[in-house]
Amino acid sequence: MRILIVEDDPVLADGLTRSLRANDYAVDSANSGTEADHVLAAQPYDLVILDLGLPKIDGYEVLRRLRRRGAKVPVLILTARDALEDRVRGLDLGADDYLTKPFDLPELEARVRALIRRGQSGSSALLTHGALTVDVAGRRATLAGVPLDLSARELGVLEVLMMRSGRVVAKEQLAEQLYGWEEEVGPNAIEVYVHRLRKKLETAGVSIRTIRGLGYLLEKPDE
């Protein structure tokens, strides 16, 4: 996996390079927009981490040129600007994710992993959560390689929770995912599925928390 870091602050660039190298990525770094543009035109990468405030050519321009060349490489924008307009502009230009400085290193690493995975498989077909794996395309779930006996609806709930692992999923969101627009489904039905899922996953060390008034949250596995 090759990652290009485009960042003009040497301390930050060095920190990012070393931490990503420690995660076994091959990391190159460029400290100006011009350099980044040249490198990107010449070599393929699996991920670009792009600072917006660069000398000469800014990050937006680097991104615009990259996309104009038709490159599909995932781009994670890293910037000191956090105004909504800046975010929207970056994403409009074809960025895949956005992180505001200063950020938490684990957060950056998680996003890097997610982006690379997405770049690899188009849309992620395999969801993993600790020992738990869900094959979205094959509609199967396994726990440490052993198939789990889940109904289609239970599997649906699990998929949504795993896709948003560590974040709150509202009951309404779950209902929409499971039934589409036509069918009306009460929150009680969702409660039933979550209850059954909890029972079946009891032994897997997977915990689905109920968040008062908000929905459910699949707790992140200890990494």
Partner: protein
């Protein structure tokens, strides 16, 4: 008079105008009254003197000489007429050529010595009263001699004085009335002319300190416009100075972000590589210091952005308050769980909408939640509620943390104010941001104890009417700035 003009605190334009107008008018009136009195006296005297002379002549006509003796043949009816004249009783005295008494009141005061001409008028006291007397000399022939008979007729001055007084009053009273009317008119006109000034005063008086938009010139009189111009220029300079200060804070905070990101990343990296022990402890401290710096920088930036002088025009869009609060609460759940805090949400079961700026409102809620999660101890509870309070949309965030002592409750909204002894690292800007943004939205923020007397409830109540006023101010600020 000097003292009056020096009473500066009392000077209003109206009063000044009235004073400067009525003082000369009154002096003129006084002078005019004196002149009027003089004229009235003169003409009254003229008229009465003529009537007096008539009486003297009437008597004179009756002077006869018989046997060298001068006598007056006054019929009883004529005497009665003289004594019952309208202007009061008349006294007379006729003396012969040798100054001998002929008829009348012998004690009537004599005329001044050198007589000038045949008719002389003079004022005297008679029987304790001021009288006007005419002395008429008539030639008579007594035998071969010619002599002069003197007829003196006197009347009380009272009648003519009374008449002069009436004439004076007849002239002076209408004048006084005119002056009073002029005063009232001036007062009214001044009031009308100064009405724009009081409009201006109300406009300036009712302004919030953050509204630096230009004052309306509209229908102000030309004389007042230079003043408004000058004030507007001052407001403009003030607002520029404020925004440049805001921009500086924002830029500084912005510029700090990249180096802090570097510091943070390197610290994290070092922490992973460092063996446990002293180095680890040092790096942990370093990381927490970096966290605090990060938060401070973020909050400075967010405060600078929330202030009106930032030049950032807040949006006025229709916002689903329930959705916004639920989203904000959801985003804080992972952080709350990391501290083993139960963060929950309660909604009113019906839609609640307000007008406002979603970005700022989220920022506001984030700061309230940040405080709640930060100051609540593990296993504690934080509840976010959207509700209607007397029909007004409200958000409350309640925690069961240590609570804020009553004495500190109003001070926590001040910048960099922190409640002592909480043992939690904060920078004291959070609630300042909350208040700033709430004010933009015409909302009221209060801090109180929780339901059971412990913990803290932050209550943000939106008052739609006040919001509209705030929006108008912001709109005019945007349009003119």
């Amino acid at each position: 008079m000097m003292r009056f003009s020096f009473r500066a605190p009392d000077t209003t334009l109206r009063r000044k105008l009235l004073w400067w107008l009525s003082a000369p008018l009154l002096s003129l009136w006084l002078i005019s009254s004196v002149i009027d009195y003089d004229i009235a006296n003169r003409f009254v005297n003229l008229a009465y003197d003529r009537a007096l002379l008539e009486s003297a002549l009437d008597i004179g006509r009756q002077v006869k000489v018989l046997n060298d003796r001068v006598y007056v043949d006054l019929p009883e009816i004529a005497v009665q007429m003289l004594q019952t004249r309208e202007s009061g009783r008349v006294y007379y005295l006729v003396t012969g050529p040798e100054n001998e008494f002929v008829t009348g009141e012998p004690d009537l005061p004599p005329p001044p010595d050198p007589l000038s001409g045949r008719i002389n008028y003079y004022d005297q006291q008679y029987r304790g009263r001021p009288v006007r007397i005419v002395a008429l000399q008539l030639p008579i022939e007594r035998g071969k001699e010619r002599g002069l008979v003197m007829v003196q007729v006197a009347e009380n001055r009272a009648a003519r004085n009374e008449f002069a007084r009436q004439i004076l009053l007849g002239m002076v009273l209408p004048q006084m009335l005119l002056i009073v009317l002029a005063g009232l008119l001036v007062s009214h006109v001044v009031g009308r002319a100064l009405a724009p000034l009081s409009t201006l005063r109300d406009e300036v008086g009712s302004r919030s300190h953050r509204d630096l938009s230009p004052l309306p010139e509209g229908d102000m009189p030309l004389e007042v416009r230079p003043l408004i111009h000058a004030m507007n220029e001052l407001l403009q300079r003030l607002s520029e100075a404020l925004s440049s200060q805001q921009r500086f804070i924002a830029d500084a905070a912005h510029q700090l972000r990249t180096p802090i990101a570097g510091l943070k990343t390197q610290t994290e990296l070092a922490l992973r590589q460092a063996p446990s022990g002293e180095a680890q402890a040092t790096l942990t401290q370093l990381r927490s210091a970096t966290e605090r710096t990060t938060r401070l920088v973020n909050q400075l930036l967010s405060l600078a952005r929330a202030e009106p002088a930032s030049g950032r025009v807040p949006a006025a869009e229709r916002i689903d308050l329930v959705a916004l609060a639920r989203e904000a609460a959801s985003e804080w759940v992972p952080r709350a769980l990391a501290r083993r805090i139960d963060l929950g949400f309660e909604e009113p079961g019906r839609p609640v909408h307000i007008e406002g700026d979603a970005f700022q409102l989220r920022e506001m809620l984030n700061n309230v939640l940040d405080n709640a999660v930060r100051y609540t101890s593990p296993e504690g509870q934080v509840s976010v509620r959207v509700e209607l309070q007397e029909g007004d949309p409200a958000i409350t965030v309640e925690d069961d943390g240590p609570g804020v002592p009553e004495a500190d409750r109003s001070r926590v909204f001040e910048r960099f104010y922190r409640v002592l002894g909480t043992g939690v690292e904060g920078c004291g800007l959070g609630l300042a941001i909350v208040r700033e943004i709430a004010q933009h939205h015409g909302a009221e923020v209060t801090l109180g104890p929780g339901v059971n007397g412990n913990g803290t409830v932050v209550r943000i109540v939106f008052r739609p009417r006040r919001l509209r006023a705030a929006n108008d101010a912001a709109a005019s600020f945007a349009a003119d700035g």
